[in-house]
């Protein structure tokens, strides 16, 4: 049967060849799947991009989680999210989910850091102005004073969940009329959750934009860094002043700017970043602040806080607290960047703009 053996040998040879030919295909399927997912959530467009094994399924789970969190963390709809806390203001504590409790904790920590420049109880003021709702109006003074009276993060009573007794977290606002608004923290928290899930799934790299809040980790399939354009406040959506090259660890880049949500009356622009002190849109000589941090909720909350604080007080906070980096865009066209961004920051030299680096305190 030498002939048969020959056939077998030939067959085996072909089998080996076939297996060899399939290998790169299979390896390719396992290692470098690229998946994209767009969804509309949290009043914004969310763009998700991931590379790695099972990226598509991973993004499906992340998208479902984003929708779930949108429901839990909204401050505007009367039947969901933080509405129960606001509706019970002046009476009993309301029960929180774990996510809500963590968002409130992050907000309160930045409120404390910034001396209330970010305030999770800003609800009465943001409702009064209604910026972004299509029913904007400049409130009269009496209404503003009344609303300002009701904004006080120090009065918010947050009781964390007790793992021993199993009691859930609760929150209570002591005065009727007080209301929570976590719009300045929610998206950042959600992006943090998304990145956490993707990393747990073994994804190699991801780039997310939740309504312009950017979150990323890892690299592109070719090993290169993700490049994030910092939007030009005067330009269109597609114009940017500088590029940040993400280093590979989890990075959250959140910008607060006066060009995002606003309305114009008598030639004056009223934007959505309200000062809890004055009750008016914060005017601190800034067009935008970008915060870069390793935590999504923190980056989001800090970008609002720094915008309201202004350049000098914002830099002071950076020097004292640390844990984040920032780029301030002033209305006299300075780009003021903190020194930790040096390895990542590429200024594009836009005409009229000056780049200034800030060093930590000696």
């Amino acid at each position: 049967m030498p002939g048969n053996r020959g056939i077998l040998r030939t067959r085996r040879g072909l089998q080996v060849l076939l297996a060899a030919a399939c290998l790169p295909v299979l390896a390719g399927c396992g290692a470098s799947v690229q998946a994209n997912r767009d969804l509309f959530a949290m009043d914004a467009i969310c763009m998700l991009q991931a590379y790695g094994p099972g990226a598509r399924e991973s993004l499906d789970r992340v998208a479902a989680r984003i929708v779930e969190l949108e429901e839990a963390l909204t401050s505007r709809r009367p039947d969901s999210g933080f509405a129960a806390v606001s509706q019970a203001a002046g009476t009993a504590p309301a029960v929180l989910t774990d996510d809500q409790s963590r968002v409130l904790e992050a907000a309160l920590s930045v409120a404390a850091l910034s001396d209330g420049a970010l305030d999770p109880t800003i609800g009465p003021l943001s409702t009064l102005w209604g910026i972004g709702t299509g029913r904007e109006a400049i409130p009269d003074e009496a209404a503003l004073d009344a609303a300002r009276e009701l904004v006080d993060w120090r009065a918010l009573e947050l009781v964390p969940a007790d793992p021993d007794t199993g009691d859930p977290a609760t929150a209570r606002l002591p005065k009727a009329g007080m209301a929570l608004d976590l719009g300045a923290v929610a998206k950042g928290y959600v992006s943090g959750e998304a990145i956490r899930m993707l990393r747990a799934d073994g994804i190699h790299g991801a780039l997310l934009s939740l309504g312009g809040n950017v979150a990323t980790f890892g690299t592109k399939p070719d090993g290169s860094r993700f490049r994030i354009g910092l939007r030009d406040p005067d330009g269109e959506d597609t114009d940017y002043l500088a590029i940040l090259d993400a280093p590979g660890e989890a990075w959250y880049i959140v910008v607060s700017g006066d060009y995002e949500r606003y309305f114009v009356r008598d030639g004056v622009r009223y934007h959505h970043l309200l000062s809890p002190d004055t009750g008016f849109p914060a005017r601190t000589g800034l067009r935008a602040v970008a915060v870069v941090a390793g935590d999504g909720a923190l980056a989001d909350a800090l970008s609002t806080a720094l915008f309201v604080l202004g350049l000098d007080r914002g830099l002071a906070l950076w020097r004292e607290a640390g844990g984040f980096e920032a780029v301030f865009v002033t209305d006299d066209r300075r780009l003021v960047a903190t020194s930790g961004l040096r390895p990542s920051f590429r200024f594009l030299g836009k005409e009229g703009y000056r780049l200034i680096w800030e060093e930590p305190a000696p």
């Binding site: 399927c29 312009g212 597609t238």
Partner: protein, 144 residues
């Protein structure tokens, strides 16, 4: 059936006597190899963009049209309804934009022209998105 001959031997009509029986199997295996190579090429070609900017129009997360901008010959205004709103999308060689829309906030129209990878414009009320994919852009995403 006696001696294995070189399959290259052109003079011998009984060449490959050894492989007479597995001829069909061979063809199958060969087809499988070719298929595998084809798959490899296809997945590679899909994974690695060729540098062309591709405008992807998605509705509620689902891609409804893809346009290779460099291959656009004649300008076109594409009329499309999404949600409760009506849109005119202007497609020109190398670029694309929301030309007009009857949505309440007009953010999509104000976004202007898009011509490089990383550019995007969205209408949140109508859940309609245009985004440029592909290699060669300077950035992968732009903050708000």
């Amino acid at each position: 059936m006696t001696r294995r001959r070189s399959p290259r031997d052109p003079a011998d009509g009984t060449v490959r006597a050894v492989s007479e029986r597995p001829r069909f199997g061979d063809a199958l295996v060969l087809a499988a190899i070719l298929l595998a190579i084809g798959l490899l090429w296809w997945s590679y070609a899909r994974a690695v963009p060729h540098g062309d900017a591709i405008a992807r129009i998605t509705q509620n997360g689902v891609t409804i049209r893809e346009i290779v901008l460099s291959r656009v010959q004649a300008p076109e205004t594409w009329e499309i309804a999404s949600g409760e709103y009506q849109y005119h999308i202007r497609i020109e060689p190398g670029r694309i934009r929301f030309e007009s829309a009857d949505c309440p906030d007009q953010v999509c129209v104000q976004s202007g022209w898009m011509d490089r990878p990383g550019h995007m414009a969205a209408c949140v009320p109508g859940r309609l998105l245009i985004r440029i994919d592909g290699e060669g852009g300077d950035v992968d995403v732009i903050t708000r």
